[in-house]
């Protein structure tokens, strides 16, 4: 009886095996890079908003403090979004007829809230608290980036668990004194190592690993 498999069958078999191995590898690499991609993490993605609000204009241009609009940031888990009334404190006086501001005026006149699209995405099972971060030396720009440079707001970091843990594991590299929390231009100074240590003690930050407990962020 003739041989069922020719000698080259062996080669084909090896080739197929290698293809499977390579295929798996390629799939893994693709999945891994996809999971970090802007497409999936929403990093640097710009969303359509009811009106083209520019942080660049309001923060860098006019010098508004973050807390003028995000009033709750020092006392609540969420930073707070300004009610239409806050916009109208200025815009009932200036740019009163600007087409861009029509949705805001309408909202205020009709008592219908503006519906903004969320830019920073955090899964529902993560419980982040703004107040405890800004009160313990973490500035806005550490997570939100230099908002003052953004015409349309986007999220420069992917809010992945790795991003949170990189700081929870080693907070001193991002700690700032209280008067620099709202400084969008803040970069770690050259002696951050030393200053960070001092700030750790000043803010009474627990370095035992408590910050790495699951229960710190998940409930």
């Amino acid at each position: 009886m003739a041989q069922l498999f020719q000698p080259r069958a062996d080669a084909i078999f090896r080739f197929v095996l290698w293809c499977i191995v390579l295929g798996c590898f390629v799939a893994l690499v693709t999945a891994e890079s996809l999971s970090h991609s802007e497409y999936l993490t929403g990093r640097n993605m710009i969303q359509a908003q009811p009106t083209e609000f520019s942080h660049f204009h309001h923060v860098a241009g006019l010098g508004l403090d973050c807390r003028y609009c995000h009033t709750q940031v020092e006392k609540s888990a969420t930073a707070g979004m300004p009610p239409s009334h806050t916009c109208m404190t200025c815009h009932s006086q200036i740019w009163t007829n600007a087409r861009m501001l029509a949705p805001v005026r309408e909202s205020y006149a009709q008592n219908v809230p503006l519906r903004w699209t969320r830019v920073g995405r955090l899964p529902g099972y993560v419980y982040f608290n703004h107040a405890v971060h800004v009160k313990n030396g973490i500035g806005c720009s550490s997570c939100h980036g230099d908002v003052a440079k953004m015409q349309m707001t986007s999220q420069p970091h992917a809010f992945s668990m790795a991003f949170c843990l990189s700081c929870h594991q080693n907070p001193q590299k991002n700690l700032r004194p209280q008067d620099e929390i709202y400084d969008m231009k803040w970069h770690p100074p050259a002696d951050q190592g030393k200053r960070g240590k001092a700030l750790l003690a000043q803010y009474h930050i627990d370095t035992s690993g408590r910050l790495m407990d699951c229960s710190t962020c998940h409930r």
Partner: protein
């Protein structure tokens, strides 16, 4: 989508649709294919109401019912996700001053049971009430809660609540109602109100009473009747027999040294429970600190929570209660020749103790006892000199309206031309022999206002949806008379109006709102001077200060107690409100339906309870059906055998057997109202018991469990050697145990549960369910042992012929320092944190359930199905601070980690340590007897650390070296206690 019957018209329609699309139909996929807009429109055309689609679906389906999404389109806004996956942020247009979005806010308000108030703090987040806490400043409830209070927040959102004005079972609206009523009500007013009758439930609200009295002034021939299926009528009738006028009784346990209970129920569910239990345990604790026991002697025909907490017990027949009280009265009055009688040994002891503490004792009976027994108890208290010291009498808290009897006669005679039924369901809850439904036919105009489209609503011309107390203005009195204010925490969800608003709509040309009505009443009461400040203060406090009733100085009337005819032999049927759904008012509340009923631990239905001997005599077993006949009335239900019940007593609970109510409460259990008669609402004498064929599934939370010889509940005879020990924490080990123990930042959370204080009321269980988004699983899943309660209350019993020892033991997660579950988990989904919490990481959990089999306390619960699926209205109730768990995930008590984190963050922001008492778990804060202490064990000064040093402290299964963070204090028993 429910399955489609292949033979139905819908199926034909689907086939036609599919033919048009050129596809071959496939039955398997029919439902899915049929889910098209065209088909949807067809269903809507054919079924004007969606109700028929839901007929026959199980209760479990309730949580998945789509009907709510039809009806509740508006609420879907609460969870709006753009299709891109980017959620919206919707800020205010004008943010109210003092409000921080996403932060919880508390409002002082009240919850009602039979019209009687308990002070509550309602926690709202973003305008949604999500949790009820006790109001610690309230003079009556003092921060305690009961299961009804805790569950009332679910009742608010119930999508089965009535959502539209109905006229002759057709949807209508408020304007149509008012339009049609203006002329007719005007005619009634012109006619002095002749023919107008108003029927309410029990009313304590001062403002509503004032309104009704004003109406009576304007229309002198109008009548106001009050119908209370449970109510306090027997209490008031008993006081009338003893003192000549209706009175309420308040017990001052702090002045008592002995309590004697003749079928008493002050610790049982009811409006008095929270306040009475709180005062009782305070006195018992003080006595124990002074080295003696505030003992309680209890004699009863069937066991209840009060009986369970007594120290000396006697089981007596229902018909022997009055003779027993009579003998006690003779004994304490020093009359000789009281002679032998029932429960002789018990009586001798009780009398001994009573005589030792004359003027410092309390004799009680139950709210549903015979009025003659109430009168005798008043006389015994008078003879002992307790009146005015340990037993205080006040004006009745429920305002006395005309009895329903006169209404029934007037209806029969056709004298009622317009009947207004306000928050009452007489068609269901009247005794069978009142034939209310039949009499109703003689009334030309019948208007019903209620929370549900219930049995009465269907027989009335108009049905008006009422507001829930959490969404309306109002007031009500607590058992001590304190006028408690009710303020809305949300705008009416389903377009309801409150009773005062409806009354105003009927008679005022310019209808007033609930707020205005309430304010104007209290402005009259408090005076114009400084009213705004006083009103603001009252709203902040939740009650109007100094409105508790003053003690009445009363003396028993000279005439002796009437001698009731000796009851016939045979079986006495005792009819009592259900411990979790009461008179049926909470029948559609899934939390309360799934709450194990104290003593039987059954859920989702009522049972006939029998003593073991009685059951054996008839050859009945648990779950077997039996029929009880009394007079011409009969009910059939499953049997449940209860140790310690008298052989001649059968117990049934009200509230079940509902035909029309909602997807939770309809069609379960049997209707015990059928056994009631107008003359004997609580007891039917001379009943007979018959075996019926068949069995019914009765689900219980506590059955077929092995204890392996362990005695989990320890008892501490007062003054004896301590039974507590710390052996659980000194077990030898080769392991390095410092890792778990040394809380790096100095905190070690722990809990101590005082078994002497636990009365088994289950408030903690519902509080936990409410705080932690614990799902309801339904009867079928519960029967599989898949209940999800993070905290359960175990009931241990030890009944013999001469004693009955009952102990309740709340069992949350023990948060073992060396947790066995953590060894079992292959994916580290359950781990310890630095403060000693045993965490459950839902995202890591792959559902092996190994942890649960490793757990010696069996406190872990697995989501076998999508238990958390619910209609949008129910989702809106959920606590946003706690993750909602998905299918395939293990879950368990977290020590309310969200509350710990919140306290930690607050303290961190203020740069101070967490104070003792700053973290209170939901169970601890709900407990009316403060049985649960929670806090930081590492802080020597903390309440929990000192509770742990109590010599009664012991660990459950400590010998396993689990080193549990939750420990127990042994229950107290008298010094001469024998096992």
């Amino acid at each position: 989508m429910p399955p489609i019957d292949p033979a139905s018209e819908e199926a034909d329609a689907v086939r036609r649709l599919l033919e048009q699309a050129g596809e071959r139909p496939s039955w398997r996929a029919l439902e899915r294919i049929a889910d098209t807009p065209a088909f949807d429109a067809f269903v809507r055309r054919r079924h004007l109401s969606v109700t028929p689609m839901l007929a026959g679906t199980g209760r479990r389906r309730f949580l998945q019912v789509m009907a709510a999404s039809f009806a509740l389109g508006g609420l879907t806004g609460c969870d709006r996700d753009a299709s891109s996956g980017y959620a919206e942020i919707v800020p205010y247009v004008n943010q109210p001053t003092g409000l921080t979005p996403t932060e919880p806010q508390s409002y002082a308000s009240a919850t009602l049971l039979d019209g009687i108030a308990n002070g509550a703090l309602v926690t709202t987040i973003d305008g949604r009430p999500i949790k009820i806490e006790g109001n610690p400043d309230h003079p009556w409830s003092r921060g305690g809660t009961d299961a009804f209070m805790q569950a009332s927040v679910l009742g608010l959102y119930d999508p089965d609540r009535s959502q539209a004005v109905m006229h002759l079972t057709n949807p209508s609206d408020w304007d149509a109602f008012r339009g049609s009523m203006i002329g007719r009500f005007g005619a009634l007013q012109a006619n002095q109100g002749r023919g107008l009758r108003i029927m309410t439930g029990p009313v304590t609200s001062p403002s509503l009473v004032a309104m009704l009295r004003d109406m009576q002034k304007a229309m002198p021939e109008m009548h106001w009747h009050s119908h209370a299926p449970v109510g306090r009528d027997t209490i008031y009738e008993g006081a009338r027999q003893a003192f000549g006028k209706p009175l309420d009784t308040i017990w001052d346990f702090s002045k008592a040294e002995t309590i004697v209970s003749l079928d008493g129920d002050f610790l049982d569910p009811g409006p008095q429970q929270v306040g009475a239990a709180g005062r009782w345990i305070e006195a018992r604790r003080n006595a124990a600190r002074a080295g003696h026991l505030l003992g309680m002697h209890a004699a009863a025909p069937f066991p209840n929570l009060t009986y369970a907490k007594a120290d000396h017990h006697a089981v007596v027949a229902q018909r022997d209660l009055v003779p027993l009280a009579r003998a006690l009265l003779a004994d304490v009055s020093g009359e000789t020749g009281a002679g032998d009688g029932p429960a002789m040994e018990w009586r001798t002891r009780a009398v001994q103790d009573l005589m030792k503490s004359r003027g410092r004792s309390i004799v009680v009976t139950g709210a549903h006892a015979d009025p003659a027994l109430h009168a005798l108890v008043h006389r015994i208290n008078a003879a002992l000199g307790n009146l005015g010291s340990s037993v205080i009498y006040t004006d009745p808290v429920v305002v006395q309206a005309e009895p329903v009897e006169s209404l029934l006669d007037a209806m029969e005679r056709g004298e009622v031309s317009c009947l207004l039924i306000l928050e009452s369901n007489p068609v269901y809850s009247m005794p069978a022999d009142a034939r209310f439904g039949d009499r109703l036919k003689h009334v030309p105009l019948k208007i019903h206002a209620g929370l549900y489209q219930d049995e009465t609503a269907l027989r009335c011309d108009w049905h008006l949806p009422l507001t829930h107390p959490l969404e309306s203005w109002g007031d009500a009195r607590s058992p001590d008379g304190t006028a408690t204010l009710i303020q809305p925490t949300i705008a009416p969800l389903y377009g309801g109006r409150s009773i005062p608003e409806i009354l105003s709509m009927l008679q005022d040309t310019d209808p007033r709102g609930g707020h205005e009505i309430l304010r104007s009443y209290w402005r009259r009461e408090l005076g114009d001077d400084g009213f705004e400040a006083a009103w603001r203060d009252a709203l902040l406090a939740g009650f109007v200060r100094d409105t508790a009733f003053q003690p009445q100085h009363v003396a028993v009337t000279a005439s002796g107690a009437p001698n009731p005819a000796p009851a016939a032999d045979g079986i006495d049927v005792l009819i009592r409100p259900d411990p979790t759904i009461w008179d049926g008012a909470f029948a559609n509340n899934a939390w309360l339906q799934e709450l194990p009923k104290p003593w039987t631990n059954t859920v989702w239905q009522n049972v006939l309870t029998l003593s073991p001997a009685r059951a054996a005599k008839h050859g009945l077993k648990n779950r077997g059906l039996a029929t009880v006949k009394a007079g011409g009335d009969a009910v059939t239900g499953p049997v449940w055998i209860v140790e310690g019940q008298h052989d001649d007593v059968v117990m049934v609970q009200l509230g079940y057997g509902r035909g029309t109510l909602g997807s939770v409460g309809s069609g379960i259990g049997f209707d015990a109202y059928a056994l009631r008669s107008r003359l004997a609402p609580w007891t039917r004498h001379g009943a007979t018991l018959h075996v019926a064929s068949g069995e019914r599934r009765v689900v219980t939370s506590q059955e077929l469990e092995q204890q392996g010889g362990h005695d989990f509940v320890r008892l501490q005879p007062i003054g004896a050697k301590p039974v507590g020990d710390d052996t659980a924490f000194t077990q030898p080990t080769l392991y390095n145990r410092t890792a778990a123990e040394s809380a790096s930042d100095g905190r070690a959370w722990g809990m101590v549960i005082d078994l002497d204080a636990c009365i088994g009321c289950n408030a903690c269980v519902v509080a936990c369910q409410s705080e932690n988004n614990v799902p309801v699983v339904g009867e079928e899943q519960f029967a599989e042992g898949r209940s999800m309660h993070w905290l359960r209350v175990d009931h241990y019993r030890d009944d013999t012929s001469d004693h009955s020892h009952q102990r309740f033991m709340p069992v949350p997660c023990m948060h073992c320092e060396t947790a066995p579950c953590e060894l079992g988990c292959p994916v580290e989904a359950t781990v310890h944190d630095h403060e000693g919490l045993n965490l459950m990481i839902y995202n890591r959990c792959v559902g092996t359930r190994a942890c649960s089999s490793y757990c010696p306390y069996k406190v872990r619960h697995f989501n076998f199905l999508h238990y958390s699926e619910a209609p949008p209205a129910i989702q809106a109730r959920r606590n946003p601070e706690v993750t909602v768990r998905a299918r395939g995930v293990m879950e368990k008590c977290t020590y309310c980690v969200q509350r710990i984190v919140k306290a930690r963050i607050t303290a961190d922001i203020d740069d101070r340590p967490i104070r003792d008492g700053e973290v209170v778990t939901a169970c601890a804060s709900a407990c009316p007897t403060r049985a649960i202490t929670f806090g930081d064990l590492a802080d020597e000064q903390s309440a929990v650390a000192s509770a742990r040093k109590d010599p009664r402290n012991y660990a459950l299964l400590g010998e396993l070296n689990t080193r549990p963070r939750t420990t127990y204090l042994a229950a107290l028993v008298p010094s001469d206690w024998k096992a």
